[in-house]
């Protein structure tokens, strides 16, 4: 399954990564190798085996609706790069335009 340069550019944009033209070519080639390696799984005869999203065959792992003491604001905000009004301060969300 060939990976196009456009697909890599799309993925980079979704991931907020700024890639140069050279990097796009470079990663497109690399990703193609990775994808084709993984694609070999499809050669295994797997008829009648449903696809899985989890390694452990468990369902319904629940916790009861019980409150556990939270961290506290000081600990919660301790590692934040910037704090204001006891809130996480984040850069401008929308770019102008």
């Amino acid at each position: 399954m060939p990976i196009t340069r456009d697909e890599v550019a799309h993925l980079a944009r979704l991931s907020r990564l700024a890639l140069t033209d050279e990097e796009l070519d470079h990663f497109a080639a690399q990703l193609e190798v990775i994808i084709s390696a993984v694609a070999r799984v499809q050669e295994v005869t797997a008829e009648g085996i449903p696809p899985t999203s989890h390694a452990v065959p468990l369902t319904n792992v629940f916790r009861p609706d019980v409150v556990v003491p939270p961290l506290g604001a000081a600990a919660a905000l301790a590692a934040a790069p910037a704090v204001e009004e006891q809130r996480f301060r984040v850069p401008r969300i929308l770019t102008e335009g």
Binding site: S53, F62, R63, V67, P70, L94
Partner: protein
């Protein structure tokens, strides 16, 4: 960023040329005491970032665990909405860059919702027209987690546009959220705005009766997105839809649909096209303005959540939850209507006055349905209107109204005294019996006491008495008035009249 005032077409004119198609996406915060995937508390209004932990902050190494009560509530909602409950389904990651989720993704459900294909019957109450029934098809009911709340700083209006930076509080992040999505609702024509409102009202009442959420629109525990599109009348070819967000009251749901119909009709009339976009509703002006454009399809890269195992509700569990559902509002409404023998319009009047539950409780406390209805829709509604409050805020309980009604029925009070008793109860002077005892209020129907007053009145008005003896029984009103004065209004008027006529040989 401001948008110039949109051009509108009058509503009737728009409906004459276009058929509206509406759809509603409702988000409900469940009333669990802890969050969806961690044990943090969920109380509203706590100090910022005091109800957070490594899981809901998305710290490395933390793992989510599903709250059993949230799954149970969602299945109950699905059952009450006549949905099929999935035998097996998974959570999915919805990836996006926006700081309201600290993980950079929201755990949601994508192509495997917990509940699908249901319906809700609603009664539409258009102004000045009889109520009509509408079956709203439900597409899906799925689980997700709520996001944090952002304060936008630096811009002129506190809006995200033009802000320099934002401040985020993650107390709300991770609160269990249920999204209920309708199928597109066609064929409502001019009733579209009222139909949208009726659906959200019925849904709110249903959720409240299930006890799964406090459904407070003003606090955001019930939030509504309204989709609207138009087709040239009779063509069936619907144009692009818009999605109006921030619709936070029942009245706004109605206004938002109405406004979008008027705005889209003007755009289409001018030969332009509707843009697929999110629009924001403004409570103050009743208008919507353009938000995020959705022309470029969002790519959320959904994939099954690797940190959670699938949900597989057993048929036994679902059957148990179904059997334990309470009487739902529509069934209760129908039962009460038949028990009380009321017409659709009478029931609508009770509903509109917010008196249905009060009347039901008054009847349960022993009052006759007609009497209970008379007090709440008459005297008490007048008091509530005068004070500008809801009926439920009046300082009188259904049991107290039932007691007054019982005393009137047994002849212990007449209507006039009953009103005095209610006045005193409303003024905080105690229960009806306490007021009656304290003021010595009770209808005097003891003949010997009444006869003394009647004889006194006859003696004081000899000319009137003579007229009555001569057959002019209409003059008895004068003597009746005199008796009522001496008994301070506490006499049983019908009995007094009989006694006067008896005494003067007219019986």
């Amino acid at each position: 960023m401001s948008e110039t005032m949109a051009e509108l077409v009058g509503f009737d004119e728009a409906i004459a040329r276009y058929d509206p198609l509406i759809g509603l996406e409702t988000h409900v915060e469940l009333g669990t005491v802890s969050k969806m995937f961690c044990g943090c508390p969920t109380g509203f209004g706590a100090e910022p970032n005091t109800q957070v932990c490594p899981v809901c902050l998305g710290l490395p190494g933390s793992l989510p665990v599903v709250n059993a009560a949230a799954i149970e509530s969602t299945i109950r909602i699905g059952l009450a909405l006549n949905c099929s409950i999935a035998g097996w389904c998974r959570f999915a990651r919805k990836n996006y860059f926006y700081p309201d989720m600290p993980k950079d993704f929201q755990i949601s459900q994508y192509d495997e919702p917990l509940c699908t294909d249901g319906w809700l019957d609603v009664t539409v109450h258009p102004e000045g027209a009889p109520p009509s029934q509408l079956r709203v098809e439900i597409e899906r009911v799925h689980m997700e987690e709520d996001t944090g709340k952002s304060l936008h700083k630096g811009g002129a209006t506190g809006r995200i546009h033009g802000a320099d930076y934002s401040l985020v509080d993650y107390n709300r992040a991770g609160i269990p959220l249920v999204e209920i999505v309708t199928k597109p609702i066609a064929g409502t024509g001019s009733l579209a705005p009222a139909a949208a409102r009726a659906y959200v009202t019925e849904l709110r009442d249903l959720l409240r009766s299930l006890g799964v959420s406090d459904v407070r629109m003003e606090e955001g525990s019930l939030r509504c997105d309204v989709n609207t599109s138009l087709a040239p009348r009779g063509s069936g070819s619907w144009g692009t839809r818009t999605e109006t967000k921030n619709v936070n009251s029942l009245r706004s749901v109605e206004r938002a649909v109405r406004y979008e119909i008027e705005r889209q009709a003007a755009v289409l009339d001018a030969g332009r096209r509707i843009v697929l976009e999110t629009r924001h509703f403004h409570e103050d002006s009743g208008t919507t303005t353009a938000g995020r454009s959705k022309e470029e399809a969002q790519d959320y890269r959904y994939f099954p959540e690797p940190d959670l195992v699938p949900i597989a509700p057993s048929p036994d569990w679902v059957a148990e939850l179904r059997a334990a559902l309470p009487e739902l509002p529509a069934a209760r409404h129908a039962r009460l209507q038949s028990e009380w023998g009321l017409s659709d319009l009478d029931m609508a009047a009770l509903g509109n006055a917010g008196a249905l539950d009060l009347v039901a409780q008054t009847v349960s406390a022993g009052a006759a349905p007609a009497e209970a209805r008379k007090w709440w829709l008459g005297e008490l509604r007048q008091r509530a209107n005068t004070e500008g409050i809801e009926l439920t805020a009046l300082a009188v309980t259904p049991a107290q109204v039932a007691r007054v009604s019982e005393l009137v029925a047994s002849g212990g009070l007449n209507d006039k005294l009953a009103r005095q008793v209610l006045d005193a109860v409303l003024a905080g002077q105690g229960s009806p019996d306490e007021v009656i005892a304290a003021r010595g209020l009770a209808v005097v129907s003891d003949d010997s006491a009444l006869l003394a007053a009647v004889d006194e009145a006859i003696a004081a008005n000899p000319k009137v008495a003579e007229k009555i003896r001569g057959g002019k029984t209409a003059a008895a009103g004068v003597l009746l008035g005199a008796v009522m004065t001496t008994t301070r209004g506490q006499a049983d008027a019908a009995r007094v009249r009989e006694l006067i006529l008896e005494r003067l040989g007219q019986h």
